[in-house]
């Protein structure tokens, strides 16, 4: 799979119209200089050999160099990725923490006002453009009422803690810098809300549909008949089965969130890989875009693996089949 991903990025990077050697050499280069560059980058080699070199390069951490930041792409990714991870992690946490209970409520109180409200939220969530929602939140909450900061990760006056884990939230806590932590949280609220809204909507929707199905099952009726408390039936007996499709959706939405960071980070000026990819793509700086694509693809694969493992934890049938 990883190999396939590398092949995909390799093919895309060869979509570039025109001669990459001439592009790299600049407009004033003469034919001899272009030739030198072609040799130096191995662009005169046949494609399979180029691909081999590319794969070997990536596996040893050579993602190329960014023309814009004049840094190694790997260095940039290491700098920006923790920010994205915190944003996506926070948004996912909120989406699951709200989406699952709201889905349950909506299923249990089906066709009451609770259900109607959550359904309106869930259809809107998928349809609303994330970047526009972000802008409107900025407009109302940050600019009009001045409740939260407009964008970025920290205020100008806040000193970031010396890095331990590269994760700002963790670092501020480890260093005991409460003020900085609060500032970081304040900066994260709007981007997290924007990013989590669509995921929240679809998690809620799947969870609701599954809970409705599960609550009709015989074993639930049986459990209720035995006088097991209602909340226990819903939250333990039914939820566990309903969580399996919900987990699939969570895995899917994780990948989708990573993709949406492109938009949300642009709106909130959040220094993550999404913003990095956009700025690079806009200045025709190609290596970073490929690096981000690879990193996100890899992340998504790991997430899907985790989801598969979680199936085993939830569903004894999967566990049995595996052993």
């Amino acid at each position: 799979m990883l190999f396939g991903l590398l092949a995909l990025t390799f093919v895309i990077s060869h979509l570039v119209p025109g001669d990459p050697a001439r592009l790299a050499a600049g407009p004033d280069a003469n034919a001899a200089m272009v030739e030198t560059i072609r040799k130096e980058y191995g662009l005169d080699q046949p494609l399979p050999i180029q691909f081999q070199r590319y794969v070997r390069g990536i596996l040893t951490g050579h993602f190329g160099r960014s023309l814009r930041t004049r840094e190694d792409v790997l260095t940039d990714l290491v700098r920006y990725f923790p920010n994205t991870l915190e944003l996506v992690g926070g948004a996912m946490l909120v989406a699951v923490a709200l989406g699952v209970p709201l889905g349950i409520l909506s299923a249990v109180y089906r066709n009451t006002w609770v259900d109607h409200v959550t359904r309106v939220v869930s259809v809107s969530g998928v349809a609303v453009p994330a970047f526009w929602l972000g802008l409107m939140l900025q407009l109302a909450i940050a600019l009009h009422w001045g409740l939260l900061p407009l964008g970025g990760r920290l205020g100008l006056m806040t000193t970031p803690p010396p890095s331990i884990t590269h994760l700002l939230f963790v670092d501020t806590l480890l260093r005991g810098q409460w003020g900085s932590f609060r500032d970081a949280v304040a900066h994260a609220v709007l981007p997290v809300v924007t990013l989590c809204f669509p995921a929240l909507a679809s998690i809620m929707r799947v969870n609701r549909a599954e809970m409705i199905e599960t609550l009709k099952q015989d074993y639930i009726v049986n459990a209720r008949a035995q006088g097991i408390p209602d909340w226990r039936v819903v939250c333990r007996y039914a939820l566990k089965n309903a969580m399996i499709p919900t987990l699939t959706m969570i895995g899917l939405r994780y990948g989708w969130m990573l993709g949406s960071t492109i938009l949300v980070e642009s709106v909130f000026d959040w220094p993550g890989i999404g913003l990095y990819a956009v700025n690079s793509a806009l200045s025709s700086d190609f290596q970073p875009v490929m690096g981000v694509t690879l990193l996100i693809g890899l992340n998504f694969m790991v997430a899907n693996l985790l989801v598969d493992l979680a199936y085993g934890w939830l569903d004894p049938r999967v566990r049995q089949a595996a052993t």
Partner: protein
């Protein structure tokens, strides 16, 4: 001679198609009973109407061609300019309405290209299986392993910004969904009794595919295309917003929001209205798709 002659074929036709008509009527009734389906249909109809007659009803048609009226720049919404004006005095309402046509075109092309690539590949993978099928599914999974927007960004980054390249990129990342859908459906249909029977009496492969398999895949494909119209419009607007999609003065909603962003918060109408239209359009296609699924494909609700 017989005066009832022109009528007879009609009554015969009606009788022959009685069951089909009854089915349609039932569908229509189920659909009409659901408020959200009707809302979706209304939104989509309104959107299509805007795309069709937009250029004839806008108050300032010249404003989408890059004209400049500095004397009336950045005016707030008023009776003359319902959605206000932009930084060179062009009517935002005009541009938003004309944007419907751009979005419709983008959505249609992406969905159509994706279906035209994905459906045949899905049928081949599902029906033939073997090495070919395996290869197709591997490549499909590969494309699905990178979030679509990221892949599209990478492709547009390689091809260069612009609305045509954005459409190419989004079509290229959109087809795998159709392969997955059709392959799964074909695989299930292949072992159905009626397909077995057709094979047993010596029906050719092509005929089986076209007569027995594809018609049965039609419902889920219809549902998916309806959903995808909305999502493709959203994705294209997203690329426009980043600055890699449509370029001004093309009246594209995403690009307009991105442009108007520089004039927030004072001149909020410039970004607010195009976004509202994206939202309503995508909402319409989603609700319509949901409604269609409820009648065409009730088993796969989720």
């Amino acid at each position: 001679m017989d005066r009832a002659l022109p009528l007879r074929p009609l009554t015969v036709w009606l009788e022959e198609h009685e069951s089909a008509r009854r089915e349609l009527r039932l569908y229509a009734r189920i659909f009409a009973r659901s408020a959200s389906s009707m809302l979706g249909l209304a939104l989509v109809a309104a959107f299509l109407l805007l795309a069709a007659v937009g250029p004839f009803i806008v108050p300032y048609p010249e404003d989408a061609r890059g004209t400049v009226h500095l004397d009336r720049k950045l005016e707030a919404p008023s009776a003359r300019h319902w959605f206000g004006t932009d930084e060179v005095g062009n009517d935002v309402y005009t541009q938003v309405i004309l944007g419907a046509r751009v979005s419709l075109k983008v959505g249609l092309i992406i969905t159509l290209v994706a279906a035209l690539i994905g459906v045949p590949l899905g049928v081949i993978a599902g029906y033939l299986g073997g090495v070919v099928g395996e290869t197709i599914m591997r490549v499909t999974d590969l494309f699905l392993s990178v979030p679509g927007l990221v892949l599209a960004l990478a492709i547009v980054g390689a091809l260069g910004p612009g609305i045509v390249n954005a459409m190419i990129a989004l079509s290229l990342v959109w087809w795998p969904g159709y392969v997955r859908l059709v392959q799964g459906k074909t695989l299930a249909l292949r072992s159905e009794v009626f397909v077995e029977a057709a094979r047993a009496v010596g029906t050719g492969r092509l005929r089986i595919v076209f007569v027995h398999i594809l018609p049965n895949c039609l419902s889920p494909i219809t549902v998916k295309t309806s959903m995808d119209m909305g999502l493709a419009i959203l994705a294209a607007a997203s690329l426009g917003f980043i600055g890699l999609g449509a370029q001004p003065p093309t009246p594209e909603w995403g690009a307009m929001i991105s442009h108007g962003r520089n004039y927030l918060p004072t001149w909020w109408w410039y970004s607010a209205f195009p976004g509202l239209f994206i939202y309503l359009t995508v909402l319409g296609f989603n609700l319509l798709g949901d409604g269609l699924r409820d009648i065409l494909d009730p088993k796969s609700r989720g």
